[in-house]
């Protein structure tokens, strides 16, 4: 029993599993740690603006803050493949300031 356990115990490598899991979760959490707080709001506002002109879904826009050597990079990717232009440019919040329709 003792010898068998020593070589074939299913728990034998649980520490190795722990190490792998930790490495993965911490890599993810460390990457998110340095993202400034305004990124989600920036992404939402960008979507709003772009939506006035072309029809895009939320997942077609990606905002990332990265580093290239010494330079910080704000990277904005908007996928336009398959996006249709909006039928009327005056939709959305801008409609409020559009000139009123002529009366009479």
């Amino acid at each position: 029993m003792g010898l068998f356990n020593l070589f074939f115990s299913p728990h034998r490598h649980s520490a190795a599993i722990a190490k792998e899991r930790l490495k993965i979760v911490l890599a993810h959490e460390r990457a998110g740690r340095h993202a400034p707080d305004f990124l989600p709001k920036l992404q939402k506002e960008l979507i709003d603006v772009v939506c006035r002109y072309v029809e895009i879904r939320e997942d077609m826009i990606r905002v990332n803050l990265g580093k290239s050597g010494e330079t910080s990079l704000l990277e904005i990717n908007i996928e336009l493949n398959g996006a249709k232009p909006m039928p009327t440019p005056s939709r959305g919040p801008l409609a409020a300031v559009a000139p009123p329709a002529k009366s009479g």
Binding site: M1, G2, L3, N5, L6, S9, H11, R12, H13, S14, A15, A16, A18, K19, R21, L22, K23, V25, L26, E29, R30, R33
Partner: protein, 270 residues
């Protein structure tokens, strides 16, 4: 120049207060005038671990609020003349730990002491952030266990971004890893993360490894910092860690299992 050292971990129950008590005792034994402060407002426990719970009259919050002066609140240890305990309050007002007040008290302590050891509460709320904010040096207490390692990583990130040194663009808080409740027997069996695993994952310098030891519970039962117990492996490991903290080179002890009877290994692992 006095040094402010925070004992922190993120996760609870990993041995912060045990470490704060042992570390302060170890520094005092080495001749440094040391005070250990309890930052866990509302859940005072350092007094029990230090064995001075019946001598608490005034506390940290009293001094911050100006209801008592520092020397009325400081408790002198009966075993070592260099060691003082600064208990916290049992108030439930968690905002009582105002940053300006803490700053003022720490500045006053710096006039009298070589080392100011801050015992942080668990978590990343107000008390824990206040405990680490003024630190020059941090000891990250970690168990070889996934949740503890993850929380330690989080605290390391907070020290790097939210401490006063970070805010003022001063040299960063000096980081030290202390691995506690280490069981070399289970490590050999592959059931526990190794010292090297944790070092590699957290990538901060290792100050020491404290073996899982019955003497730690015995020490807390009797209100004696474990570093005062010469027979305790954990106590000796703490004294080694203190020596390394003071710049000495010491070989890591207690990281390999004690030799065991071959027949016991063969016929089951009691």
């Amino acid at each position: 120049m006095a040094k402010v050292v925070v004992i922190t971990s993120g996760k609870g129950g990993v041995g912060k207060t045990t470490t704060a008590a042992a570390f302060a005792a170890g520094l005092a034994l080495r001749g440094h005038k040391t005070v250990v402060i309890d930052f866990d407002v509302g859940l005072r426990n350092l007094d029990l671990i230090m064995g001075c719970e019946r001598r608490v009259v005034f506390d940290f919050i009293n001094v911050i609020n100006g209801d008592a002066n520092l020397n009325q609140a400081l408790i002198k240890d009966k075993r070592n003349d260099n060691l003082y305990i600064f208990p916290t309050s049992q108030t439930r007002d968690k905002d009582a730990l105002r940053r300006e007040g803490v700053d003022r008290v720490l500045e006053e302590l710096k006039q009298q002491f070589d080392y100011i050891i801050c015992d942080s509460p668990a978590g990343i709320e107000h008390g824990a952030i206040t405990a680490l904010y003024f630190a020059d040096s941090a000891i990250i207490v970690t168990n070889p266990e996934v949740s503890s390692v993850r929380d330690s990583d989080r605290i390391i990130g907070i020290l790097a971004s939210r401490s006063r040194r970070a805010e003022r663009n001063e040299p960063p808080v000096e980081l030290n890893l202390l691995l506690t409740r280490y069981d070399p027997g289970r490590v050999v069996k592959g059931e526990m993360l190794t010292v090297e695993d944790v070092k590699e994952i957290l990538s901060i310098p290792l100050l020491g490894v404290i073996p899982e030891s019955e003497s730690v519970l015995r020490a807390s039962n009797t209100g004696t910092p474990v570093a005062f117990d010469n027979d305790s492996l954990a106590g000796r490991a703490y004294l080694d860690a203190v020596a390394r903290f003071l710049g000495e080179q010491r070989e890591m002890r207690f990281v390999k299992p004690e030799r065991r009877n071959f027949l016991r290994v063969l016929f089951g692992r009691a």
